[in-house]
């Protein structure tokens, strides 16, 4: 009676909360383990059939779909919340009020490795000081999403930055260095607002928008708003404990997402998810692309169309 869950560290706080409450209501009869391997790592295990549920902070990719297919593994895709991937700087940083996607690209693209090492090189208005970079580890969905959104290609990034699967390492690093810039899930920023400053990002419409629940909901925080998911192995759902867990999760995600500082989806999204499950609507609505800039509404329409 073990429900095995692994994957995204971004999704982890929600899953953990659900798992905790679920185990309490089941009085220990069902055990839930939640690993933190990152979205990519989670999918690798998932597609080998080692886990029942995979947490993901981006949609499943074509390669992962192929792996799953090869292993005969089918899955349900259930969005559970929205996150604002947040670009953060040190609060003492006086020269940055906002940043454009182009500037972010100049800093983070693979070609910048070893070349773009000072702020001045990105924008002459900025000081002649070194840039210190902090980002998510290579197995994480956050990394995939950020590289796709900023550099236009998943996993395309410069390599000379402090990379960690452990977002708190990044919080530490950025909070102790004026010249630092980095990115991670909103929740980590929300818990550390005293130590960090979230940088408004200029959206395609040309507005500089800071990450927040409202800006995610109204779709103005672009392109770094992203849905987060769980993927459930179709075979596992036959096991009563997994089914029970997923149902429990769908009912309680909204509450827990809010509690751990994520943006919950409209209630309809969760019932829709349950419906898919009951009707056996398997597969993804993203077609294996790491799409950026999908708004909540868009997601809802796509899900409804599955």
């Amino acid at each position: 009676q073990v429900v095995k869950i692994d994957g995204s560290s971004t999704v982890f706080p929600i899953t953990e909360g659900v798992a905790e409450d679920f185990q309490k209501t089941k009085k220990g009869a069902v055990k839930v383990t939640v690993g933190i391997s990152g979205t990519g790592g989670g999918f690798k295990k998932f597609c080998r059939g080692e886990t029942d549920i995979s947490n993901a902070s981006r949609p499943i990719l074509a390669k992962e779909m192929a792996d799953c297919k090869a292993a005969g593994i089918e899955y349900y895709e259930l969005p559970i919340a929205f996150d604002a991937l947040t670009v953060v700087i040190n609060p003492k940083n006086a020269w940055l009020k906002q940043i454009t996607v182009a500037e972010l690209k100049a800093i983070w693209e693979p070609a910048a490795q070893g070349k773009i090492t000072r702020w001045k090189q990105v924008n002459p208005a900025w000081p002649d000081q070194p840039i210190k970079l902090f980002g998510a580890g290579a197995d994480s969905g956050t990394f995939d999403y950020f590289t796709e959104a900023i550099n236009g290609k998943t996993k395309a990034s410069r390599g000379d930055f402090t990379a960690s699967e452990d977002d708190n390492v990044l919080v530490q690093g950025i909070s102790s260095d004026v010249n630092a810039i980095g990115y991670f899930g909103y929740a980590y920023y929300a818990e550390n607002t005293a130590k960090l400053k979230a940088l408004p990002v200029v959206n395609p419409k040309g507005q500089a928008v800071a990450p927040a629940e409202a800006t995610v909901l109204n779709g103005s925080y672009e392109p770094l708003s992203r849905p987060i998911f769980i993927y459930v192995n179709a075979k596992s759902i036959a096991k009563p404990e997994v089914k029970e867990y997923v149902e429990y999760m769908m009912k309680n995600s909204a509450k827990i997402a809010k509690e751990v500082k994520y943006v919950p989806l409209p209630a309809k999204a969760y019932t829709l998810g349950l419906e898919h499950l009951n009707k056996g609507k398997k597969g993804t609505v993203f077609g294996g692309k790491n799409e950026v800039g999908v708004t909540i509404e868009e997601l809802m329409t796509r899900e409804a169309a599955l």
Partner: protein, 321 residues
Amino acid sequence: MAVAPFDNPAPAGVSLRGEARMAELARAKLARQRRERLIEAILFLAASVSVLTTLGIVYILVRESISFFAAVPIWDFLTDTQWTPLFDDAHFGIMVLMSGTLSSSLVALCVAIPLGTIIAIYLSEFAGHKTRETLKPLLELLSGVPTIIYGFFALLVVTPMLQKIFPELPGFNILSAGLVMGVMIIPYVASLSEDAMRAVPMSLREGAYAMGSTRFQTAVKVVVPAAFSGIAAAYILGISRAVGETMILAVAAGMQPNLTLNPMESASTITSFIVQVALGDLPHGSIGYQTIFAAGLSLMLLTLCFNLLGYWLRKKYREAY
């Protein structure tokens, strides 16, 4: 006459003599030997577990590394100046991790070797019996603290302190991790060196004092040279520890693949790379999975060199007294 032994034929005072008696004894010996051989074989198996462990390590590391080097030319591995194995544009320059490993070890050893040696000399030649017996165990406690705790100590206590002195210092840096690692290694160096100095016979020390030496002269001119092989072994163990230390670096040194020997920067080491990847998934069979084994193999070879050097030193200079 003698009490009958439990399973041997009665000895003296028995009817048999000469040849017949000898034949009887030969049989008894054989029976006993068989039992002892069995015990010996079991003990031998236990002793071989260590060899099996090594073989296991080598097998696993080499097996995965072979597939790794099938994909990555060994020349690139040794000469590339970038380390981005899991990125879209993958580079596999082990030098980058090596540089982190070396600079962090160097910082640690700059702390541990001088301090460890001087502590060993002090404890063995200067301190009284009571002082030694209380301080040495206390010092050894330093090596009992889990290293992950040192890691957070370095990150949250030492780095901010250092930043007061060097405002330039980044939040993650080799210096702070190395210093703390050095303190952690002190007991290994001090304790083993002290043991080696203790083992120098008192007669040698008395010889030196009888010539009119001071404590310092006795320690430096007679005891330390006599204990040289033991002290060298202690240093080598210290080096192995520094090179292989993982959590302190993973937590406090930044995990940033950075080809530099400057301790004021943050860097990734072989070990911190391995845990970093292990913290994510270990996609069995992928190049990422094999990369950590290739890195592990490099690390293993590095420590093996040091350990063999240590073994050789011990053999060569054993018991100079």
